[in-house]
Amino acid sequence: MEDLEDNTTVFSTLRSLNNFISQRMEGVSGLATPGSSQSSLQIQYQQRVQLEEQAGQIHSKSQLLQVEREKMQMELSHKRARIELEKAANTNARNYEREADRNQELLTRIKQYQERETEAENKLKEQMEMNKSYKKSMETMSKKLQEKESKLAEANETITVLKGKISELQWNIMNQEMQMTSQDSQKQELMEQLDVQHKKWQEASQQIQTLQASQSLLAEYEQKIKDLEQKFSQQEHDALIVKNMKAELARFPKMERELRQLREENAYFREMKENNGLLKEEVEGLQRKLERYEKVQAQLVTVELENEKLLGRLKSWEKLDQSTGLNIRTPDDLSRQIVALQQRELALKEQNSTITNSARILEKARQQLQEEILRIQSQLLDEKKKREQHEALVRRLQKRVLLLTKERDGMRAILESYDSELTPSEHSPQLNRRMREAEEMVQKLHAHNTELELEVEMKILKSQENTAEQSTVITKEEVDALRLKIEELEAERSKLEEEKRSLEMKLEKLTLQGDYDPSRTKVLHFSMNPASLAKQQRKEEQQQLQEECERLRELVRVLEGGGSIPGSLEGVGNFQSPQEIAELKKQVESAELKNQRLKEVFQTKIQEFRKVCYTLTGYQIDITTENQYRLTSIYAEHQGDCLLFKASSSSGGKMQLLETEFSRTIRELIELHLLHQDSIPAFLSALTLDLFSRQTVA
């Protein structure tokens, strides 16, 4: 609207300008004065210029406004476009996502289809393979068929052959049948012959039987003959024996006589034997005595000889006294002299031993001194050797020092020369070369030096070896010291070995027991292992048993209390077989029912019986206490009239009447019936009649 207003203002100002210009033109043309025309033209020109300027300004303002408006519109349109673009972008994005999803779906579907394709291909392949295999099997089957057909053809051929054979065989059979008939006829003829032969055979057999019977009879007779002959021979033997016996019997009395004689001789001989034995013992004893006496005689002879010898010796000993000149008359003196001599001998021996001991000590001292001398000599030699070694070392070192000084001088000279040379010019490669040469020289000299030292050492060693042989004695002391050291070390070693052994044993024992190093190993086991399962089972069992125990204790308490078994505990009793319990319960119920029925029946019967007794006998009998019976008559005048009877015996056979008020009134009846007649039934019936009569009369 502003634009329109601006436009209208522009147009209106333009129109006003045009109007003004036209007016001015008319005004100008109307006037037509030159002088004023110039000023009016100028004024018009200025006015026009001003108007044009205004118009230009207005135009520019309007253009600005337009531009601004356009800009606003552009911005708006930009915003709208942006919004729309964003919407479009969102929609595009969503489309894109949808497209992407669809893409993925399609891809997955493609994959699936590809997989299905591959599967189908695989199946195809398998099918093809199966086809091939089927074809192969078909081929084999066809081959088999062919073989079978060939076999069939062969079989058919064989069948024809066989049929020919069959016809031949049939022809043969016919022939054979004919032969059979002919043979049958032959057979019949033969049968007839057989019958004839059979009859003959039977006759022959009969004859044989008769012959056999006669033969058996013959045999029997022969046996009898044999028996009789045997008996005859035995009898002959017996006759001979009897004859012999008779001869022997004739000899019998002679034998008896001889026997008696022999017995007598026997007894006589036994006596003689005993006597002989005794005499033999005596003889032996006498012989022994004889022997002893002979021995004694011989001893006597020898003793006499000795006696003579001893007497001779004694005489010689006695002569000694005269020969030696000592104061010896008796052997005692001699023994004393001998003892004295022996004592002197002992003293001399002691002196001898002391002297020898001193001699030995002196020898030992001498040896020790000799050893000391030797040791000192060896030390001397060692010192000499060491000194020589040191001198050699010194010499070597001096030589080395000389060489080193020479080297050093050389090196110094070289360095000085290099220093002197360095200042004018730099010859670095020459310097390096010279350095290297100098180093090589030095190394060579070192090597030469070491070789020389080795040679010297070898020479020294050789000289040492030569001297070592001479100085074995000298080094004995060192050897002893070394030996002592060795012994100590060995003792230590053995101790350490023992310790080691004991530690090894302990370690072994621990490993056997199962010890382990916790820093390097750990012990694992399966969580569900049988030991833990067994423990759990045991716990559960224990719990179950405890629960059972408690339940049973409660049950026992209830039962002891005598209360009915609550339903909750009835279940406890089900540990036995429930069948037994049900049966027992049924039995108990039936027994109780029976009891009850019997009780009722008894009650009714008892009551009936009592009523009958009452009506028939006229007395109601009640048991008051244990053995007392109260009788009340039907015709009693008063309610409390009763008789008391007491059973004296437990079975109730004998009854005694007790005193009651009523019994005092009927004393005559009691005296009559009970005391005189001693009959309770009579008394009771008399009482009934009496009461009845009283009743009816009254």
Binding site: K509, T511, L512, Q513, G514, D515, Y516, P518, S519, R520, T521, K522, V523, L524, H525, F526, S527, M528, N529, P530, A531, S532, L533, A534, K535, R538
Partner: protein, 206 residues
Amino acid sequence: MAKQLGRDQQGITLRGSAEIVAEFFSYGINSILYQRGIYPPETFTRVQKYGLTLLITTDPELKNYLNNVVEQMKEWLYKCIVQRLVVVISSIENNEVLERWQFDIECDKTAKDESAPREKSQKAIQDEIRSVIRQITATVTFLPLLETACAFDLLIYTDKDLAVPEKWEESGPQFIANSEEVRLRSFTTTIHKVNSMVAYKKDSFP
């Protein structure tokens, strides 16, 4: 036997050695359970192995447990991180350990799977295993009677840094308080060496 003849020609590899040792443990543990009467004798059936008639259990739960443990042992033997297997026999009532059968395993760690198989014949290894199992059977003569009901547990001593698998847990070593130990024979496949020993509680009566 044909498979083992084939192995014989090839020599002993690390995996083969682990299988042999695991198999030995399986049959050895079964023998111990039968000889010591941990399970009733009628639950055992006879098989032929190592040239002997051995008895193995038919109880499915026990079989399952033993298979689990032996399979795990095979893996650990292959990795050479197991040091000992112990069969602990304890009384159920008071959890007292009565016997401990311990098998120490020394593994030659230089024999990895890539190295060449070692020369030792199957027959020699079988003979050694047979003598060990015979000795286990013979030890029953001097071991004290197990009068109470007992249960057993298998403990495995491994390296400290091993990750404990699922279903396994750490346990104590379950020593016997006052024990006598006897060292039994050992056998070796040149890659694994198994030393056997048994420790039992000393009787209170001399």
